[in-house]
Amino acid sequence: MASSPLVLSPQPPPSAPSSKFPPSNISKAKALALQHASTAPASPTGTPTPPADTDLDAGAQMNEQVRRQYVITKQIGRGTYADVFSAHLASDPQQLVAIKRIRLQTGWTNGITMDSIREIRFLSELKHPNIILLHAVYSTKDQKISLVLEHLPLGDLEEVWHKHHLPYGNADIKSWMLMLCRAVWFCHSHRVLHRDIKSNNCLIAADGCLKLADFGLARPFADPGRPMTHQVITRYYRPPELLYMARHYGPKVDVWSVGMIMAELAIRNFLCPGETDLQQLAMYCDLFGTPTEETWPGVSKLELYMPPSTQKGMDGTTVATRRGQPASFWKQRFSLLGDEGIELMRGMLTMDPNKRLSSEEVLRHRYWQVAPRPTRKEDLPRRPGSREDGEKRLGEDLKRVAGEREEVEGGRADKVARKLDFGALRR
């Protein structure tokens, strides 16, 4: 599975292994190799290179080897969950990488955090030009796991519409969205749910290529009947079925998030910046209409569903609209996308997950084929400013805990630690 060895064995005290295991660890490792690969033609019998530290076991040695391949130059991000460093290959200083060193969280004293397990597991399997590349994984002496990731110095997609006054048009949006949709489709066709797609997690590489990052909340598709947690996906991008506390959901949750990103790019603002989960739901109901059994079969069976008569509107006092905004509203507000773009966006932002487009249907949509052709990635508008700024942004993006927003503008500082409700799974 993993091209890079994930070895987490700590460095044992110098005396312990030699007393417990009299034969050299190397020879034992070789014996194991022969035993497991018995069909291998003439296993290498050349003299093994003399190990640097004879008191390390085989795993620790491999770990050392991986670790020595990279030279850390400076720290570019610091967070409660992870520290991010800029580094380069020891053999070639031109080859930059970003190293995400996960801090051990207090809640997880014995073992690796769930987030990093997920991240390592899925990133080492999913290799696609639009998904961040995991070069290697190693652990340091103090038991911290370091992920060696691709160096993506051009910021993220939120910066594109938010921070700078970058001019861009429909062709550029189409290009970014196409790269994102390809990444999402690739995840889904490998039966992986990302569950934290947001514009912050769409990083931009030096050549303008968009890369989906942060697989800290990813998981494989569930088995039938197995409940999943609904406390995933950053709130602005969370689909209605999760707000209704559905425990059985599928890849359509990611498609909703992608639709939200598309809307964001078109209006240069969050489409639904809800401060609480209830307000988020109220915004959806105002925009898309409150779902009923006719528009979304089975919705009333979901735990938190409220029929249109009791569903509160955006300001919390009135009753939400039943029918949602008319077509003219979308046409006017999202005129940048063109008719096909609006059609695709509304297809992705359909309340009923069974009617929502799947990631493959999204790629088969005619929006991609009509004019304008998506901009080539080298010609996409780029963030102004120095490379250091972009690196800083990369540091900020990578240090973040999955599923959380770290935005303090407007006094909206929801830095509350994310709680994954694992206890609820056993119910």
Partner: protein
């Protein structure tokens, strides 16, 4: 004497710079004064004069002896101190926009050098105002030929209404003496027509040894999947399977309302079951043997994966 001689040129230059030749206002009175030039005649005047004279549309240049019609939009600050240099740079820019071949476009270096000589000839003709009409005509011909070849509808350069060649038509409506002057200047043109190269030029953009222009291949239709195809190779997924232990979930409205799709599960289960069909251990071992030189590292690596993956092997660390 020497004192006066040293002062006069310096003082003169400062004076030229500080006083507008049109309104005679000086920098002393107006510290923010900016001078503008028009690439039509390169006569310098201050910003307020430009505003005053040309705000109501095209007007003749106010400098005595210069009759050219100027437009306000064309005025700009000069880049070079020497206006001759400024003019030369402008002309070179205009010529380079039309004659922009590179060495790669020619078959031999000799042909390229001949081409460069023609470019230089045209440029200097324009700079030194020799055969302006004929040269302009030639330049325009080149441009049209290229435009037709590339099939580009919009081209940034458009001939100015007050260019000398166009002006010739205007002059024809004027007095007889001026018409005579035009006739004499036209008499110079056959001179250049006699040039053998010019005969070819008349037909269009035609240089010896110039490779034929190959238009770039039309773009392929966009593939949204970017060449990736993930199709099951050994099985076909059906829409529904009648399995007893799945019926309960299949008919559970809570599961379906949340968007859980049984088809995702079917395809996953089939993939788990059958995707190993295309993998042959022998092939992988062969590939590994070819790709790796035998060193101790290989053994250690496979040992570690075995130790991590195999459940029957105890890790030799106590933590």
């Amino acid at each position: 004497m020497s004192k006066a001689a040293s002062r006069v040129p310096g003082g003169g230059a400062a004076k030229d710079e500080a006083i507008c030749p049109v309104c005679k206002s000086s920098r002393y009175l107006n510290p923010n004064m900016r001078f503008l030039v028009n690439p039509e005649c390169y006569h310098k005047m201050c910003e307020s004069c430009v505003d005053r004279i040309f705000s109501h549309g095209p007007a003749p240049c106010p400098i005595a002896g210069c009759k050219r019609t100027l437009r306000k939009a064309k005025f700009r600050t000069q880049t070079f101190e020497d206006l001759k240099v400024e003019r030369e740079v402008d002309i070179r820019r205009r010529v380079a926009r039309v004659l922009n071949k590179t060495e790669a476009d020619f078959e031999t270096l000799r042909d390229y050098n001949d081409y460069l000589e023609t470019v230089e000839e045209i440029t200097w003709n324009l700079i030194l105002k020799i055969d302006v009409e004929a040269t302009e005509k030639r330049l325009r011909l080149y441009e049209e030929a290229q435009k037709a070849e590339r099939n580009i509808t919009a081209r940034p350069y458009q001939p100015d209404p007050s260019l000398p060649s166009e002006k010739a038509q205007v002059v024809l409506k004027k007095g007889a003496s001026q018409r005579k002057a035009v006739a004499t200047s036209a008499a110079n043109t056959p001179d250049s027509r006699a040039n053998p190269q010019d005969g070819e030029v008349e037909k269009g953009f035609n240089f010896h040894g110039l490779k034929k222009y190959v238009p770039p291949a039309p773009e392929k239709p966009l593939d949204p999947f970017d060449g990736w195809a993930i199709e099951p190779q050994f099985y076909v997924v059906q829409d529904d399977y009648d399995v007893e232990w799945l019926t309960q979930t299949k008919n559970d409205p809570v599961a379906t309302a949340g968007g859980y799709d049984m088809r995702d599960f079917y395809s996953r289960a089939l993939c788990d079951a059958f995707s190993g069909f295309g993998v042959f251990v022998e092939d992988e071992i062969e590939a590994r043997a070819k790709g790796l030189s035998g060193d101790a590292n290989t053994g250690t690596r496979s040992a570690a994966t075995a130790a991590l993956g195999g459940k029957d092997v105890n890790m030799d660390d106590v933590f």
